[in-house]
Amino acid sequence: MIQVPPWVRETFDTYLVCEFTTVKSGKPVTLPLLPFYLPDSGKFVVTSSVLFSKKAENVKQNPKVSLLFSNPEGSKAGKHAVLVQGIGHADDSDLDHGWEKYLSYWRKKEPYIDAYLAEREKFGWFWKRIVVQVEPKKILAWKNGDTSRPPEVFGV
């Protein structure tokens, strides 16, 4: 587990979205996603509906991924930039329920998610979700988001 200073941990816990990148045929594909940080393992989880499953297909082909935390909008944290590079594993063994174990994390970032869940049948395939767990290999952090300077590096 990679140890990071408190301001980096706060970024992981509170930023609502990250920029998640997979690699397809050598080309990066970056999309905004809701990330969950698992403090016990130091791993990250993102989930994806089968409707928007290309990223999960990319992870199956090439597990090297990254998550950039750069947008503090909607959080009370300061503006930083933290890049996590890691190995992703896409789990689609239980599309209907596998992601539910992360609902407590989801509620913290999107408190209204239960209203969507109440209409689960209406958005049927949206709730068929692939779980992508990421084991970090390297973390690069730019305090105050100043990317014109070299980052602090953790995990090497």
């Binding site: 990148t21 690699v23 990066p28 409707l51 750069s70």
Partner: protein, 132 residues
């Protein structure tokens, strides 16, 4: 470059530049950008371990608005692939293709409906692998 709406692009606050590094991992970094009068996109040059001159990258422009009760709305992004060129301490970005979503233009339920073929494709492949 077809389909890039420079007016809407100009409404984003910052850009995220991503390339694939020599180690095979994606490398993303946030930076400021501006659009010049002749529609050239100029990125502030971040500190990177590798040179960006002539690099194939994608640039994500993403926006959310935090909600008072928590969570966020007003979701929109533009993901633009292209090439960066170092130019007097900045990066000139030449866009080639774009993929985007703006929930004010395509509401979420319609976005889901439009994406149904991808869902069907994924489930079809999964079913085939289970049966194999």
């Amino acid at each position: 470059m077809i389909g890039l709406d420079y007016q809407r692009l100009g409404n984003f606050r910052y850009a995220v530049v991503t390339l694939v590094g020599d180690d095979g991992f994606p490398f993303s970094v946030s930076t400021d950008f501006k659009i010049l009068a002749d529609k050239k996109i100029v990125l502030q040059k971040p500190a990177l371990p590798s040179k960006l001159d002539g690099k194939r990258v994608n640039v994500l422009f993403n926006h959310i608005t935090g909600l008072p009760g928590g969570g966020y709305g007003d979701r929109r992004y533009m993901l633009v692939w292209g090439t960066t060129h170092e130019d007097h301490g900045t990066l000139r970005f030449e866009p080639e293709t774009v993929s985007e979503w703006d929930e004010k233009i395509l509401p979420f339920d319609q976005y889901c409906a439009k994406s149904a073929p991808q869902g069907a494709k994924y489930l079809g492949r999964l079913q085939a692998s289970v049966e194999a």
